[in-house]
Symmetry: C2
Subunit: 384 residues, 2 copies
């Protein structure tokens, strides 16, 4: 068994649901188990573990926050019933890369909290807190579906930004590729598409499904449904991505016209202007339909992330180092995107044969994961 396969097997069962996917919400038992595992890996390698008061964990080969340290790592949390590679692959690969180049360098491994936003709604919450991109009081008040706040789950109000971040000389995040864009085992990231999530609330009039005349209805499910189709059509028209993957109806009863339907729009495009145009077109069509249905629409931006271009020179250098590895953008958000505003940042992608992500079919071959570890080791070696 390869060193990758052996270490991977240690965490493969943690948080795995009967669907084959993972339920590793931030700060819930499966993710806490993975954090304990992280501490164990650090101990085994003589590394010092610190927490930053925001829920992020760091394991340091040298002094914590020593100037010139290169940070690598990713996150443990998953989307509900997501794959096991999105996040953990970057952390497992980091420890294995250290095994190849020794731990006598200024390198740290990080595990960021709530990258997916799967529990508290704001993705990259840990890296946003660390960099000051979100107010700690607002973050503390974010609630999960059971009403538990992030502050309560963390056990404290988040500490917020840490000025020692400036001591880091680079951040390199290795991640599973999430589409079918990569045809070699390893690639280098160029940019993250601008993207965001908008909560669309459609308010109507709850009533009896059997006795209310069709002409008397103000049914928000109709407005929601039309908006789902509109978002898909508009995104196709302008070459963007739009998805409505989450929906909630109230009271959500078979024999009641809903009083409220909430849908979350995930939208992404290659540039901000296109994303803005997409959102405008979707809201315009939703508003028109709401007028016909007698319903009311409100839209709240839960998170919007501008385009991120990773350090171009660094990306080119790493590509050369890795034998002209392909350089490619991604439609997915990452902690690397948040950190890139503060220090030189790069991403390495490992090929994903199915192209599937955020679902159980997400995966990579052991051979490609080994190639990812080797590439990360070469990169960390060259940066330290």
């Amino acid at each position: 068994m390869s060193d990758f396969a052996a270490l991977w097997a240690e965490i493969a069962a943690v948080g795995r649901a009967s669907s084959g996917g993972y339920l590793r919400y931030a700060l819930t038992p499966p993710e806490l188990t993975l954090r304990e595992w992280f501490r164990g890996q650090a101990d085994r390698r003589g590394m010092t573990v610190t927490e930053d008061g925001n829920g992020n964990l760091f394991a340091w080969c040298d002094e914590p926050w020593a100037p010139g340290t290169v940070l690598t790592g990713s996150h443990f949390d998953s989307v509900p019933h997501g794959g096991g590679y999105d996040g953990p692959l970057g952390i497992v690969s980091a420890f294995l890369a250290l095994d190849r180049i020794g731990s006598g360098r200024k390198i740290a491994v990080g595990a960021f909290v709530e990258e997916e936003g799967g529990r508290f709604g704001v993705p990259c919450l840990g890296s946003r807190l660390l960099t000051g991109a979100i107010d700690p009081a607002r973050a503390a008040g974010l609630r999960d579906r059971d009403g538990v706040t992030f502050g309560a789950a963390l056990g404290a109000t988040p500490a917020g930004p840490d000025s020692r971040l400036a001591n880091l000389s680079a951040f390199v995040e290795l991640h599973i590729e999430q589409g079918r864009a990569l045809e070699t085992p390893v690639g280098v990231g160029s940019a993250i598409w601008p993207h965001g999530r908008w909560r669309m609330e459609f308010a109507g009039a709850g009533d009896h499904a059997g006795t209310t005349r069709m002409t008397d209805r103000r049914d928000p499910m109709l407005t929601f449904a039309d908006t789902v189709l509109a978002a898909n059509e508009e995104a196709r028209l302008i070459g963007a991505h739009a998805t409505v993957g989450r929906v909630e109806a109230e009271p959500n009863a078979t024999n009641a016209i809903p009083s409220m339907v909430r849908g979350w729009l995930d939208a992404r495009a290659a540039d901000t202007a296109t994303l803005d145009r997409l959102l405008e077109a979707v809201i315009k069509r939703a508003t028109e339909r709401a007028g016909r249905d007698g319903t009311e629409l409100s839209v709240v931006a839960e998170s919007v992330t501008d385009e991120v271009a990773f350090d171009t020179g660094l990306a080119r250098r790493l590509s050369e180092l890795l034998g002209d590895a392909p350089i490619l953008p991604t439609g997915a958000g990452h902690d690397a995107g948040v950190l890139s505003a503060h220090l030189p940042t790069a991403m390495l992608f490992v090929r994903n044969p199915t192209g599937v992500s955020h679902a159980p079919a997400e995966g990579a071959t052991d051979a490609d994961c080994e190639a990812g570890v080797e590439a990360l080791a070469r990169v960390l070696e060259s940066l330290t």
Copy 2:
């Protein structure tokens, strides 16, 4: 305070949510509280309370199941965040009607379990069990959203049909009217539209919302949305009612294309042929769209109820007794519809000024409720 207002106030707070609507699911604490209240009301009037082994409660003025007994009553359970009148009005009115005509007659008051199907998915579950319209083993295995079975909630496998039902000479259910069809305080029911609920499962391919190309997707939310609109259009075209009030997506994450969306279709029409045509048209359009989306559709009938015509002679007699009260059909299912296949059955409706039902705005004036009590008293008097 009128006797109606006083008795109504005793239960008005039970199971009331902050929405103003009620959460009185069958066999949950609020509904169990109402059952205790029912026993107290029976005791106060010297009535004997029995359970039928199916979750239905009966309070008898005379010997339980004495030949010639007239049964009245309704149900306590609500749809989620429904109004407080749908069901309880018939039980409160029954006790008050007895107060007006005395309890020296062969009259019983019933409280049927799980009329709405709001917890276990099959409406009129208690009356179906009592009449043998559903297999007790199947009923025992029905699960609520938390996986609890009806058998477990009941504490036993349901007893099933009771041959003593044939001893009853009539069933009269008083109920709030659920549309805007009644312009006098009290009306008499003629028929219940044929109706049913169908669970439509749209299966697609779960994937990442950001990285999956639009052309690579098999997104079941699109098929669901198109079907919601198709059901509405087809129902309007043929003068029927169609509603999709309940939806569930998996994994229901903002940044994941769903792998599965379930939608429940509630459909009703004035006659069975129209209802059949409606369902056929909706499934045809859903199947076409599924073909375009690369998704798969399956449809399961959770319950289908044929048209019910109440005893015509009895309805005419009661209308005359009540000063030519209007005779009208309803689009809503009722335990009276189930029982009507086994004994002479009638319904009395009390005017609903908003026309809203299954939502907090459902209501009736105290004066109309008093008129309902008086009408029920006259009807019970004339039938015993």
